[in-house]
Symmetry: C2
Subunit: 349 residues, 2 copies
């Protein structure tokens, strides 16, 4: 019942594009032999790299020499636009020629171009960026990581619905648990719109496995699968988490290189340390998704390597295989129906 995925890759997006894109693609195809990939970008650069791969020697290329500058403002990127590898890769999804796009390019441009070309799912008021964090139980999904700096109750409810479907499709968890990020777990805490959202999320017929308010520490402690918040707070939490992780890694390197004794200690302990690194390796959590668009658009970290890029491709592959778009379209329609009824209910009070 699963679909054979066909994906477009923005071959020119990312710090070490197109090399990393193509090496990552080769790893992804090794894992998913049925996967078809279309590379969008400069044929002259892409072709020799494809020739060096195991599985992508005859992969299709859609040629263009233009690309979105990594630091370009969204408005600049859109003006430069339609001949860029990013635009053309998304266009393949919009035209129905492929089922998803992956890019490691400029996030704002990818968001804007994806929104313009794929449009929103009927009934979704705002899209959200969803991404994964390691936690002590496995991994959590947090959204919104920065698409909307301001959100209302309806946005957050829709994020909870979409985030649940996303987590289910990626990790095969039937009814992922969901928490709403707040400054405390008590019901009376935080903004009015958080309490309004909580009231609806608590409705059993909504089908969201809502667990209540959670705090920033719940992102990594495994208490819930999906954490819903506005894009300002989500972005600050994401960057803070990355910063703390960097500080730890840097401090760990210093700790082990302090003297001969610690270096020998490291050599002996490196099996354990390697496990730790693997568990917390950001490459394993690479691949953020713009949820709410009527098509699958996955953002890879710009500085990732081939393994990280392959992971972003896998996120897209899982979404295609599990039929994410029809699933989320149906659940959003049902949620909006309930929201409309709720409106009537609370007007009657």
């Amino acid at each position: 019942m699963t679909k054979q995925p066909i994906l477009a890759l923005d071959a020119m997006g990312g710090d070490d594009a197109p090399l990393i894109v193509i090496e990552g693609a080769d790893i992804a195809v090794a894992k998913n032999p049925e996967l078809k990939l279309v590379f969008v970008g400069d044929t002259q650069q892409i072709k020799p790299l494809l020739a060096a791969t195991r599985y992508l020697q005859s992969a299709e290329i859609v040629h263009t020499t233009e690309e979105v500058a990594p630091e370009a403002r969204v408005s600049q990127a859109l003006r430069a636009g339609k001949q860029t590898s990013m635009w053309k890769a998304i266009e393949l999804v919009a035209n129905g020629e492929v089922e998803a796009v992956v890019s490691a390019g400029n996030t704002g441009a990818l968001m804007a171009m994806s929104k313009l070309q794929l449009r929103m799912i009927e009934g979704v008021s705002r899209p959200a960026i969803a991404g994964f964090f390691p936690n002590s139980a496995g991994q959590s999904c947090v959204l919104d990581l920065g698409a909307n700096i301001e959100c209302d109750a309806k946005n957050l409810i829709q994020f909870a619905v979409m985030g649940s479907a996303f987590y289910r499709d990626i990790y095969g968890v039937g009814t992922p648990s969901v928490g709403l990020l707040n400054v405390g777990e008590e019901d009376q805490k935080g903004f009015d719109y958080l309490r309004e959202a909580a009231k609806v999320l608590n409705l059993e017929r909504l089908g969201v496995n809502y667990q209540g308010f959670v705090e920033g520490s719940d992102i990594t402690n495994g208490s819930v699968d999906v954490i819903v918040t506005d894009g300002f707070t989500g972005n600050a939490a994401l960057k803070t988490a990355e910063g703390v992780a960097n500080l730890f890694q840097q401090s760990m390197r210093q700790a082990f290189s302090a003297n001969l004794m610690t270096k020998i200690g490291y050599l002996l302990a490196r099996g354990g340390v390697a496990n730790l690194r693997a568990k917390l390796d950001p490459r394993n959590y690479n691949g953020a998704v713009f949820l709410g668009l009527n098509g699958i658009s996955v953002k890879s970290h710009g500085g990732t390597d081939a393994i990280g890029y392959a992971n972003a491709i896998n996120v897209a592959v899982n979404m295609v295989k599990q039929g994410f778009i029809p699933e989320v379209t149906a659940t959003i329609a049902r949620a909006n129906q309930i929201l409309a009824e709720e409106k009537t209910l609370s007007d009657d009070e």
Copy 2:
């Protein structure tokens, strides 16, 4: 020119009170022999513990058997109120009998009781909770960590002024660098009130060493000394950072206890690992302060140990010695003057 500090300690606040309070106080006095401490709480519990200390055998006790429950809502705590050790300890500051109060009790209650008794500094519109984080250069101060879930430009400007004075007094940095937390470093990012605040913070005569917008990762990368944000975002960032730190520590323990080899490796490397632990040890960053109140009120983490508690006492001691309250009162008055002039300027445009 420095003052001899006299502090009141809420001896009954915190998970292991009064034991930890008194052990922490003993450590703090060992470091600051001129320090005088008044213990507020149950004499029957406090007296035998003081007898076991090196430096506090004859310390003063203000007796009360009532205390604020750790999980009490603020409204409950205030009703139960005036006979509690927390209230009475703050009262000693309000009456001018001591110069600062430290409590490891209920944060919300401490904030509310401190605000009621100490009142705000003239011209401060909102108080903020300021706390410290380790970073790769030393430590950063972040505020607001949760006093106000919503902030406007004026609040943030005042937080920047107060946070600078606080950082200066604790770490002896003449003009600490300040950043405004946002979802990106570009000028056009974020909310209008962030851009308004940035405009004023950029004025040289304000005397704030403002460096521009920063992101969550800047909390730990050492790019600025003071990070200013609203209490909702600050609280989420704080808890997220704590969560990531916990996940790392837990994973590190697992890594080193994986097998005999990793255990031996740990034994050899433990000197380096101990340095890492010390650097990132939350006890060294214990002691959050309610800035904007007309008196010094320091919150210790409820679950800290004697070393952590001693650190919270040291924060209060430094603020007293450096004359924080008169300093910040003067800088706030000057900032408000500039803000008022700015208002006229922008009306003239």
